[in-house]
Symmetry: C2
Subunit: 207 residues, 2 copies
């Protein structure tokens, strides 16, 4: 969406101790096929604090339709940390827009995927940097997927030429990027493709 809108794009990914590290391989692959100025992968080890199934040895649970609490796959303050790094990267690069793919719909209520979180971060960003306070370079946090359903995201991505066979969504994907088919992320991805009337190509395939 940023490329469609004519932005020069820099990409940022995080190796944060997630068990599904193959999402990084997929990000590198997808980024290499896009016309990006730069793709930086930052190593941060959130395991130093503990506290999430995504970064522990615990198995990721299967999707539960009736549980509307924040899932144990929540990683403490993860998107705050990600956006803080993005802000540093943006300032150094003189970039004024930070695109983030958070999504508040069809989801289990991660607090740091909601519009009010994104707005609060934008407020903070414009008080935090030399670029904003001295050079008048305001930062805008853009979350274009935030209010879309998974079906709408799949449709839009397809129309923009996203090759979903190169993407990984599963929380416990194996090293080849093959999905479990049962975690929240797999179930919601499958529903998204169904809603869009499209077929999820293999890999996102089941293992």
């Amino acid at each position: 969406m940023a490329r469609r809108d004519g932005f020069d794009c820099l990409a940022l990914s995080f190796r944060y101790g997630q068990n599904h590290g193959s999402e990084i391989d997929a990000a590198v692959d997808v980024a290499s096929s896009a016309d990006l100025k730069r793709h930086v992968i930052v190593d941060i080890d959130l395991r130093v604090f503990g506290g999430s199934a995504l970064t522990s040895e615990e198995p990721v649970p299967a999707f539960d339709e009736h549980d509307d609490s924040v899932p144990i796959t929540y990683v403490p303050a993860r998107n705050t940390i990600f956006l803080a790094y993005a802000l540093a990267f943006a300032e150094v690069s003189r970039a004024r827009h930070i695109f983030v793919g958070v999504n508040a719909v069809d989801y289990s209520g991660y607090p740091d995927c909601r519009p009010e979180f994104v707005e609060a971060f934008e407020e903070l960003a414009n008080l935090a940097t030399k670029a904003a306070t001295e050079d008048g370079l305001r930062t805008e946090i853009v979350a274009p997927l935030i209010n879309m359903t998974k079906g709408e995201i799949v449709s839009l991505g397809t129309s923009l030429g996203v090759d979903y066979s190169r993407t990984v969504s599963c929380y416990s994907a194996n090293q080849q990027g093959e999905a479990c088919g049962e975690c929240d992320s797999c179930v919601l991805r499958r529903r998204g493709f169904a809603e869009a009337g499209l077929v999820d190509p293999p890999v996102g395939k089941l293992r």
Copy 2:
């Protein structure tokens, strides 16, 4: 100040590619003499983005009385990143207060040391975490030094038993923690001791 006020303390330090890495040795030393539940040192490499004299090969400049712009020792979004990590650590530890030693007085105008930055981060924190949004555990960001002069900080620290000989302030301290005597941080430290009518003990010593 947190210990004086009866808090159980966890400490957090960052090895972020700073040239003056001896401040970490000093932090470990000071923390070991305090009665802390835990001291975590997080490795983050802000050099991946570049953009600051503190993390580059450029020499740190001498103090300039008449330059009131943000100094080149500013590290992009550094305190935003530090507080984001602290928020994760607090959430995992069920801690409700984050103490941060930023100081907006006697200083060269780092944007992320100002009260409005700290307030905006507290706002963000209480929208960001599961602890805040689901468990009602509000986070308070406490910046007790923010409006104190360096002289007041030195006086108060002395009255609370801080052993300043074990601390490192210099931006280009060598591996033994010895100071250059000429950078912003050295000049402001020296003035602080003078203002407090106290003598800076060696190390903070000149090399």
